[in-house]
Symmetry: C2
Subunit: 411 residues, 2 copies
């Protein structure tokens, strides 16, 4: 293997809607020697992480722990553990990641009903509630912050309506957790799934989730433990159940692993847990309110800069996601060429989009550790230079002046 | 969150059959700033990792990449992608992890046939082949190195027999990859699953797999891509298929992510990939043959020390796994008290076992970076001291002398 050398990576300014730059303090803890999974020093770290996650999700739920996998592993773990074949599931879709919820739901045998709105907008909550009364779902699953369109869906009325209809309310908060308010208890969210690699500024590879007793009851009713480690009592109980289809994503076993019983399900991803614990600890050290405020502040500077440059922002401003800013690609400009040049010359990464928006918009993330002044200014500077190179009609110099003005006003 | 402080972990000597100590060079790369998942510098790292994994698995397979999850995520990804409901699957069981294969197989709807042998022994390959002729499985799945009993199953004849019966041969090499020979092509293994946290000395959280065209054909025939990102052509083709039940573990999508198409399935677990790449690079830098030899050498010193101390080794010596050594807990000794004292006083972790062997044996791993002289000597010293404390009849001093003698002979 002479041709595979020591790891050597270029320096990048990552301004996509995830993954984003990892906080250097998180990177540092990832060099910590590992502990065995049942070492009391390690189970203490597991417990501390659960405590931190409860604060992050603003919940009193007993269950708040990570799934060992990327963000969609958290989505699949919750859906797989809740959906029994034939269950009616309602998914309001306002972008790409709504389709992922449908996809996972269908694979696990749900009868999925969808409602869609134009990409770039979100739903009126009353429209969703009206649809729930028609469809009578067992599960309502939806995205909170849809990075594909840069929109955020208000949710505070949906959970209450779900309780009234005895439906479970499951929220994909992958892109919002740690960046904007996600009030699990106040909004009566039954299960929420977060992502590590966005506003938490932890590498991808772990998905924190939380769920309440309504979900835990469903999960518990489907409990099945493998023969090699089950107790006799457990083997007798699990004859007539509809077991969760996945072993890896079986929350009934996972919660036993994350409880004092310490069921030997898997070997916890030690270093990723160190990283998640540190990432969430830093979020709480900054303060949730202060952190959300910081995201709004840099968003303001970024938007002011882009608009002063003469660029048009995409989507309904009333439901703009504070941590993702979408830009309409100007006429006659090749969006992919601009992105490639930004990376090549400036080491700056911004994103394109998916499906109907592919080639139509750019997306700039301002999440977590990436959401800071020098990054906002650098992406404005780089974008202006590359757009000028391609002959776009922009107001030279105005973007940075507008952003600087916002930053200096705040000093 | 005043009560959750900066991460601070005690120093440990980890001598379990996994997770084991991470190579310090692997820990170091985990502090590397991340790259975006579609950054050409990152996709190059993905490609390099595939190249390294092919060498590790001793295969020419096109497909060799990690699943983003712990080792059982690799097992589940392969089984979920191959098993269609009603498929006949044969699982020869010689320890706990055989039951896990049954468990996963049943959850995905396989009709699982098992054969069992006493824990501490393995099967004659001809007995497995005879059973295959009876059962006519579509899939034969088995463990290579069973850490629960410390036994290793010879496999070199099974793959050939599977081809003759048109069955797929799937091998759990989680505990053996990088520590003992796993010859995927020569043994005609159709899919093999490795673990990161054992002989590779990488943290848990990533499971490298490889599979050949026989498996890829099954996977491809079940391909389904979510609507948000599928092409029209793909949407038309996927009407009459039996889709893979899991989205996260869908190898048909994962292989598109790991190919030049770069289908946007998940966000690759950046830092874990850095770690896996470095871990496998170091394995190959040491040399597979040399590394396997090193594991045998330290095993010899460990066994000599334990036997000279007067302890009885558990299980059939003809099929002993070189990287796991099982010890019969002496009469009147509380195995858990000894383990607790080893951890408390020496910071040494050894393992107990499962099911019928719980409380009957200890298990000492000598894997990867943990498999080195000072660790072998330290575990012998610590074990002797704690056994003396509990009044066990051991030959004081003899264990270390026997091990030292082997180390000095080799100098």
């Amino acid at each position: 293997m002479d041709n595979v050398k020591e790891l050597h990576t270029p320096s990048r300014t990552i301004m996509t809607p995830g993954p984003v730059e990892v906080d250097p303090r998180v990177l540092r803890v990832m060099s910590t020697p590992i502990l065995g999974q049942f070492d009391p020093a390690f189970t203490e770290i597991m417990n501390e992480t659960m405590t931190l996650l409860r604060s992050l999700f603003q919940t009193e739920n007993e269950w708040a722990y990570p799934i060992d996998g990327t963000s969609r592993s958290g989505l699949e773990a919750v859906l797989a553990s809740v959906i029994e074949p034939g269950d009616v599931m309602l998914v309001p879709v306002f972008g790409r990641f709504g389709h992922l919820l449908i996809e996972i739901g269908q694979r696990y045998g749900a009868e999925v009903h969808t409602m869609e709105c134009e990409w770039g907008t979100v739903f009126k909550q009353d429209d969703i509630i009206a649809e729930m009364h028609q469809v009578k779902p067992k599960i309502v699953a939806m995205v909170h912050g849809e990075t594909s369109t840069g929109r955020i869906q208000p949710l505070e009325k949906i959970g209450e309506a779900c309780r009234a209809l005895d439906a479970l309310f499951i929220v994909d908060a992958v892109a919002t957790i740690g960046g904007v308010e996600v009030k699990v208890d106040e909004w009566k969210i039954d299960a929420a799934i977060g992502g590590s690699q966005k506003c938490l500024s932890v590498p991808s590879g772990m998905s924190p989730i939380t769920y309440n007793e309504r979900v835990a009851d469903v999960v518990q009713s489907r409990k099945k433990v493998e023969k090699g480690i089950a107790t006799q009592d457990e083997l007798q109980k699990q004859v007539d159940i509809s077991p969760i289809k996945s072993n890896y994503f079986d929350l009934s076993q996972l919660q036993d692993y994350w409880s004092p019983r310490r069921l030997n399900h898997h070997t916890e991803a030690t270093t990723m847990l160190y990283a998640l614990r540190e990432g969430v600890r830093l979020v709480l050290e900054e303060g949730l309110k202060e952190r959300f405020q910081r995201h709004l502040f840099h968003e303001k500077a970024l938007m002011a800069g882009l608009e002063a440059m003469g660029l048009e922002l995409f989507g309904d401003p009333d439901c703009k996601m504070p941590v993702v800013t979408c830009i309409v690609i100007p006429n006659d400009i090749d969006g992919e060429a601009v992105r490639a040049d930004l990376l090549h010359h400036f080491g700056i990464e911004i994103a394109s989009s998916f499906g109907p928006l592919a080639g139509r918009i750019w997306r700039i993330g301002s999440m977590g550790y990436s959401c800071r002044k020098e990054n906002i200014l650098f992406v404005l500077a780089g974008l202006e230079a590359i757009l000028m190179k391609y002959g776009a009609a922009i107001n030279c110099g105005a973007g940075l002046q507008a952003a600087l003005s916002i930053y200096e006003q705040a000093e």
